[in-house]
C-alpha cells in the first residue's frame, strides 16, 4: 500500500517536471521567434539642429537621421523624447525623407522631423530616433502596425494631453509597439539660460588656449560654466569673466616673466572686483575656488599655470584700498539689475 502510494507521488512529480520542461522549450522558442521578428538595423549620423536652445524661447529644432539600411521600414522612423531615466516617454513625430518640412532632399536617406521646442528648465532634454527594420529572413506579410501618421494625428499624443489618464494609456500602448524597434543613440538638446556658445567637449581640451568660438576672450566651456552656474546674476558673471580673461592671458604668457607679472596685476584687479561684486570674501573665495579647477582642466593648462606663477617670485601684491574695489571692475555694475 505504502509502496503503491510512493509510486503515485513519483509519477506525479515526473509529470510536473515534464510539463515544466515542455513549457520552457515553448517559451524559449517564442522568445527566439520574437527576437527573429524584431529585426535590427543601423543608424547613420543622427542629431538635432540647433542642439542648444534658450529657456522659455520657442525654437524650431530639426532632427535628422541618416538611415541607409535597406531593411528599414520607411514609414517607421519616429522621434521619441526620453524621461529623466532615459526611457521613452513621448512620441514627438515621424521623420520623413520627402524633401518637405525641413527635409532638404527627398529620398536621400536622411530622415527629418522639425518641431518647436519650448523648455522651462535649464539643463538638457534627450531624444532618440526609433525605426523598425525588417528581420533578415522576412517572408511573411508585414503587419500594418507602423502607421504612425494615423497614431500621431490623434490628439492624445499632443503634449498638452499627456496627463489625461485615458490618453496617457493610449500613449503607453503606442510606446509598447516600440519593442520591435531599434533605437538610435540618444540625441541631446541643451537648454541654456541665455545665448551661450556650444560645449566644445573634448575638442576644447586639445590646445592650451581651447576654443573660443565667439572670440570674447573666454573659452567656450568656461563661458558655459559661468553662464549656467551664475545665471541669476549678470554682475557675478561679468566679474568672473573678467577674472577668466586675465587668467587666460596669464597662462598663455607663462613663458615670459614680464607678461606674467603684468597679467598677474590684471588678475589682482579682477579679484578685487570679485570681492566687491560678491559682497563677502567667503563668497568670492568660494567662487574662485570653484572656477579655477574648471579652467585648469588639462595637464598643459596646469603646467602653464604653475609656470606663470613661478614667474612671480619676488613680487608683492597691489595695495588697493577697499573703496577702490568697484573701480577695478572693467564693467559698470550699476548698469546691471542683478
Amino acid at each position: 500500500m505504502l509502496e503503491s502510494r510512493g509510486m503515485s507521488i513519483l509519477k506525479s512529480k515526473v509529470v510536473v517536471y515534464s510539463l515544466i520542461g515542455a513549457l520552457t522549450v515553448i517559451l524559449g522558442s517564442v522568445l527566439l521567434y520574437a527576437q527573429s521578428r524584431r529585426g535590427t538595423g543601423n543608424f547613420g549620423p543622427t542629431g538635432a539642429n540647433p542642439a542648444y536652445i534658450i529657456i522659455n524661447s520657442p525654437t524650431l529644432v530639426t532632427f535628422t537621421s541618416q538611415i541607409t539600411d535597406r531593411k528599414l521600414k520607411k514609414r517607421s522612423v519616429i522621434l521619441l523624447s526620453l524621461d529623466a531615466s532615459g526611457q521613452p516617454a513621448e512620441i514627438r513625430g515621424r521623420l520623413k525623407d520627402d524633401g518637405k518640412n525641413g527635409d532638404s532632399r527627398a529620398n536621400d536617406s536622411i530622415y527629418t522631423f522639425r518641431t518647436t521646442l519650448t523648455e522651462s528648465n535649464v539643463g538638457s532634454i534627450n531624444f532618440q530616433i526609433a525605426a523598425r527594420f525588417k528581420p533578415g529572413k522576412w517572408t511573411e506579410p508585414e503587419p500594418d502596425d507602423d502607421d504612425w501618421d494615423k497614431d500621431l494625428a490623434d490628439s492624445a499624443l499632443s503634449r498638452q494631453n499627456r496627463d489625461n489618464p485615458t490618453k496617457r494609456q493610449y500613449l503607453l500602448k503606442l510606446l509598447k509597439k516600440l519593442t520591435r524597434y531599434t533605437l538610435s543613440t540618444p540625441i541631446q538638446v541643451t537648454v541654456d539660460p541665455f545665448l551661450l556658445p556650444p560645449d566644445p567637449g573634448e575638442a576644447g581640451k586639445q590646445t592650451l588656449e581651447g576654443i573660443d568660438s565667439d572670440h570674447d576672450g573666454v573659452r567656450d566651456d568656461i563661458q558655459r560654466w559661468i553662464g549656467i552656474n551664475y545665471q541669476a546674476s549678470e554682475k557675478r558673471r561679468e566679474a568672473l569673466r573678467q577674472d577668466i580673461k586675465s587668467l587666460q592671458r596669464f597662462i598663455l604668457g607663462a613663458n615670459d616673466k614680464e607678461s606674467s607679472r603684468n597679467n598677474a596685476k590684471d588678475m589682482e584687479r579682477a579679484w578685487e572686483c570679485e570681492d566687491y561684486i560678491f559682497g563677502t570674501l567667503d563668497d568670492a573665495i568660494m567662487a574662485r575656488d570653484r572656477l579655477e579647477p574648471q579652467f585648469l582642466n588639462t595637464e598643459a593648462r596646469s603646467r602653464a599655470y604653475i609656470k606663470a606663477n613661478s614667474q612671480l617670485g619676488g613680487t608683492f601684491s597691489l595695495m588697493i584700498p577697499e573703496d577702490q574695489r568697484k573701480a577695478q571692475c572693467r564693467f559698470d555694475p550699476d548698469l546691471m539689475e542683478n
Partner: protein, 383 residues
C-alpha cells in the same frame, strides 16, 4: 548703435570704470606704520596667497583697537614660488589619479581631500625641499630689499606671517637683515610663523603648528604646539594625520581652528607696535559738593583727531557689583556726548544728582572707526 558709436561709448565707460592707476601701487600709503607680509608656501598660487592675505586681514581688523590704528597697517603678499616641487605634485597626481587635472586643483584648494594614494608622495616632495633647495636667492634678495626699505627708509615695522615653505624665505630674510655688519633695529622686524618646515623661527619669533599637520613629515621641523579643535585635522601627535594635507592649509585650517586662529592673530597683534600712539587721556572723577551732591565728571583729550563720541553709564554698587565689571551690574545708560568734528581735545562733566547713593560711573570713549579706546568696561569711578 553704430559700431563707431559703440566703440566710443565703450572707451568712455572703460575710462570711467576702468582701472584707477592712483589706487594701484605696490607701496603702502602714507601713514602706514606697520606692514604685514603674508609669505606663501609651495603649492600656493598668487590667487590663493592673496586670498590668505585678505582673510588674515579680515580676521585681524575687528581685533585692532586702540592704541592700534587700523589705518596704520598695510597688508601685502611677499610671493615666492618653486616650480619644481609644485610640478612634482602635479605629476604625481597625473601618474596616480588622472589626466583630468581639474580635480588636482580642487585638492589644492582643499575643496576635495587628498586621496590616500597621494598622501605619501606629497609628503615626500615636501621632505625634499629644504631652505637651500626651495629658496630662490634672487627672489629672496628682492624681498630683503623691500623689508629693508620699509624699516630703514619708511620707518615702519615689518611683520611677516610665513606659511609652510614661506618660512624658509622669512628666516633667511631675517638672517640677511639682522646678522649682517650693519643690522637694522631688531624690534622693527618680526616673524609670526605658521606650519613651519624649518627648525627655527628667525629672531626667536613665535610659531603655530597643528598636531597632525602634513608638514610634520619634514625631518628637523619644529614640533607641533597647537591643538586641532575647530579644524579638520586628525590629531596624530608628532606625525602627519589622515587629513594631513587639508590640515596644513592656512585659510581653511589654521585660520579656522579655535586655538590656531586665536594664537596666530594674537601673535600678530602683539607684534604690532604701539609706541608713539596719539596721546590720549581719559579721566573719570567725582565731585562732592556740600557733602551731599555727587557729580560724575570725565574728560578725554587726544592729539590725533580720532575721537568721536563718549557714552556714560552708571550702576548701583551692590554685592555683585563692587568691581568694575559689567556682568551682574544693573548698568544704566544715562548720557551721550559727541565730540564736535575735528576736535582734538574735549571734555565734559555731567551731574547726576543722587544723594547718598552708591554708584559706579563709567565713560566709554569711541574713536571715529567706532572702536572703544577705553578698556571694555570704560573708565570708571566707584563711589
Amino acid at each position: 548703435m553704430t559700431p563707431t558709436i559703440r566703440t566710443a561709448v565703450l572707451a568712455g565707460l572703460l575710462s570711467i570704470f576702468g582701472t584707477n592707476l592712483d589706487a594701484q601701487t605696490e607701496s603702502c600709503p602714507t601713514g602706514t606704520r606697520t606692514v604685514i607680509f603674508f609669505s606663501n608656501g609651495m603649492e600656493t598660487s598668487l590667487r590663493r596667497a592673496e586670498d590668505n592675505k585678505k582673510r588674515l586681514r579680515e580676521e585681524l581688523d575687528p581685533l585692532l583697537v586702540f592704541p592700534i590704528q587700523k589705518d596704520s597697517i598695510c597688508y601685502s603678499v611677499a610671493y615666492n614660488s618653486n616650480e619644481l616641487g609644485w610640478t612634482d605634485m602635479l605629476e604625481a597626481y597625473i601618474q596616480l589619479i588622472s589626466s583630468d587635472t581639474a580635480r588636482f586643483w580642487r585638492i589644492i584648494s582643499r575643496i576635495e581631500s587628498l586621496p590616500n594614494v597621494l598622501q605619501q608622495g606629497f609628503g615626500q616632495i615636501a621632505q625634499l625641499l629644504d631652505s637651500l633647495t626651495y629658496v630662490d636667492d634672487n627672489d629672496l634678495q628682492i624681498q630683503v630689499d623691500r623689508y629693508r626699505e620699509e624699516i630703514a627708509v619708511n620707518q615702519r615695522k615689518v611683520i611677516i606671517v610665513p606659511h609652510s615653505q614661506g618660512n624658509f624665505y622669512a628666516n633667511r630674510a631675517y638672517s640677511l637683515l639682522f646678522e649682517s655688519a650693519s643690522p637694522l633695529p631688531p624690534d622693527k622686524f618680526q616673524i609670526v610663523s605658521v606650519a613651519t618646515p624649518d627648525s627655527l623661527v628667525g629672531g626667536n619669533g613665535s610659531y603655530t603648528t597643528l598636531y597632525g599637520d602634513f608638514i610634520l613629515a619634514v625631518p628637523g621641523r619644529l614640533n607641533p604646539n597647537t591643538l586641532t579643535d575647530g579644524t579638520d585635522c586628525n590629531n596624530n601627535g608628532q606625525l602627519p594625520g589622515d587629513n594631513a594635507f587639508g590640515c596644513h592649509d592656512f585659510l581653511t585650517s589654521y585660520l579656522k581652528g579655535t586655538f590656531s586662529k586665536s594664537q596666530i592673530l594674537s601673535q600678530v597683534i602683539s607684534a604690532i607696535p604701539t609706541d608713539n600712539p596719539p596721546s590720549l587721556r581719559i579721566n573719570a572723577f567725582q565731585i562732592i559738593r556740600n557733602d551731599i551732591l555727587y557729580e560724575f565728571g570725565w574728560s578725554a583729550s587726544s592729539t590725533g583727531e580720532f575721537l568721536d563720541r563718549a557714552d556714560t553709564y552708571k550702576a548701583e554698587v551692590n554685592v555683585n557689583c563692587t568691581d568694575i565689571i559689567f556682568i551682574g551690574c544693573n548698568w544704566n545708560f544715562f548720557a551721550v556726548v559727541s565730540a564736535p568734528l575735528n576736535s582734538n581735545s574735549w571734555g565734559s562733566a555731567l551731574s547726576d544728582l543722587h544723594f547718598g547713593n552708591f554708584y559706579t560711573y563709567c565713560v566709554i570713549v569711541y574713536d571715529k572707526a567706532g572702536n572703544s579706546v577705553t578698556a571694555p568696561q570704560g573708565a570708571c569711578k566707584i563711589n
